[in-house]
Amino acid sequence: MAGRSVRRLTAVVGHRILILGFIIFAVFPFYWMVVTTFKQNADLYVGATNVQHNPFIFNQPPTTEHLRTLFGQTLYTTWLVNTLLVGVVVVAITLLLAVPAGYSLARLTGRWGERLSIGIFLTYLVPSTLLFIPFSRLVALLGLQNSLWSLVLIYPTFTVPFCTWLLMGFFKSLPREVEESAMVDGCSRFGAIVRMVLPLSVPGLLTVVIFALTLVIQEFVYSLTFISSVQRMTVSVGVPVALVRGDVYYWGSLMAACLITSVPIAIVYNLFLDRFIAGFTVGALR
């Protein structure tokens, strides 16, 4: 009996240690960002050869100097505004294109609609690293080089397919009676969609908004390719490319920027996670 409970205890302890190990692996860079953000330079730039100096802790009192530098002397806030501007417009375009398409694929098209929906989903897999070269020609042709409009034009290429797919799944989960009862009461199909379906779809629409917005904030390749002026950069490019002055890395401010941008996205993303996963796994799960 005693041997059994000991074995049970070791299993539980082993399990907790395993989980803890994975958490440390996942979170360490973020912990490192926090430490770097608030360390004084004298504490930060001690070569790693000095084994007496423990880099994991604050050897000198924490400071907000790097934060003040970031907000006062860099274009970080401009980049944030740029990113949000692009994000808002792209989300609007995405909704305008994906909501009708998602509804149509869920309700109004039969067999060929299902084929088409798989086709649309597959376009999500066409990578930015294959398309940035033709896009650079297109952007040059339209005279949109170094303009945030180039991003507005191109970002829906990755938000629309996946959001259409997510919304299609969402509309399918609504009972058909929702529209049918409204149509019996004299609504047209379109009126039924606007008055009955859309209000019921707010959670689905919100998921799509969050998803599209996080994709825009995370995007790096197109932004790097098309935007060259420092003032017009988005956060994901401005911070790694333009926050480095000459060859000098201001690690305190850099890590502060990474931290402040990443953590809110990570939290919001987590809240909507189950819906995204449902989108990825429709088909493989029942």
Partner: protein, 310 residues
């Protein structure tokens, strides 16, 4: 009402009870999205293929057709050959590690424990954070002078006096660092997908196997893995596509260096086609991503057909 519409609908061959008016509305609602996708995904895709056959360069809009010359040049280049090999090594090694670790982690997360939702939230952070900023964090961790990894290795005595790892200044160490970051980033994604798969296996299946006297391995190979196969495929396919085509990690970490030894196809295409302004050559390099993507797409379609849902 139903009686009056039924014969009319029958003459236009309704698809699964979709009436003619609905059918028209369905097409109308689809047209904007389809037009956008056709113009900005399908057409550029074809343009990529076309450009790879030209000597087009950034800065001028004139070009002439050069046939397969770009491909010949590219294939003969040692940097390209190296990057092709790197791409496969990166993808294979990191996805293998992600699959093994993801299975262990997903199983561990199936058990109830205190603080589980917080643990899940923390474990997911690498996937949710913008990749360029997360990579910047790693750049600092792998810094040549201030690397905390080297400090730990020094303290535990792995690195003796005078020994040092220049993580990003060496081909092998650089590859290791890049693979490490890809594993870090993709692990949460695979884990949550596998977790969704594990939770979808009904408890009765395990109970029935227990009653039949199945041992741990019998259960794993005859119950869990077969039932998990579709979801495992999904996790692997997405993982492969996202890793195979990524250039952000490499661009920010090593810029393909030292001496172009850590390039992958995507980062090399960027270097040649965008930074080097040789559009034709860059396009030709990026085209080499296609075969693998096509194979992945076919696999995905087959998985979806087998599960009869899509």
């Amino acid at each position: 009402m139903a009686i009056s519409t039924a014969p009319a609908a029958a003459t236009v061959k309704p698809r699964r009870g979709v009436s003619w008016a609905d059918h028209v509305l369905g097409v109308v609602l689809l047209v904007p999205a389809l037009t956008y996708i056709a113009l900005l995904v399908a057409l550029p895709f074809l343009l990529a293929v076309f450009l790879s056959l030209t000597n087009s360069s950034a800065g001028s809009l004139e070009f002439s057709f050069v046939g397969l010359q770009n491909f010949k040049n590219v294939l003969a280049s040692p940097v390209f050959q190296r990057s092709l090999r790197n791409t496969f090594v990166f993808t294979f090694v990191s996805q293998l590690a992600v699959l093994v670790l993801g299975n262990i982690l997903a199983r561990a997360l199936m058990k109830p424990f205190f603080g589980k939702s917080l643990a899940r939230c923390l474990i997911l952070m690498p996937w949710a954070a913008p990749i360029s900023l997360a990579t910047l964090g790693w750049l600092w961790i792998f810094d040549s002078t201030f690397s905390v990894i080297n400090w730990v290795l020094k303290v535990v005595g792995w690195l003796g006096p005078g020994q040092w790892y220049y993580w990003l200044g060496d081909a092998t160490l650089g590859m290791t660092a890049i693979i490490f970051i890809h594993v870090w980033r993709m692990l949460p994604f695979s884990t949550v997908i596998l977790l969704a798969g594990l939770s979808s296996i009904p408890a009765e299946v395990h109970e029935a196997a227990d009653i039949d006297g199945a041992g741990y391995f019998a259960k794993m190979f005859q119950v869990t893995i077969p039932m998990m196969l579709p979801i495992l495929t999904v996790a692997v396919l997405f993982g492969v596509v996202f890793t195979f085509t990524d250039m952000s990690v490499i661009y920010l970490l090593t810029r393909g260096g030292p001496y172009n030894s850590t390039h992958v196809l995507a980062s090399l295409a960027f270097q040649e086609g965008v930074l080097g302004a040789d559009v034709g050559r860059g396009a030709a390099i990026a085209i080499f991503l296609l075969p693998v993507l096509l194979v992945m797409a076919v696999f995905m379609l087959r998985t979806s057909r087998r599960t009869e849902v899509l």
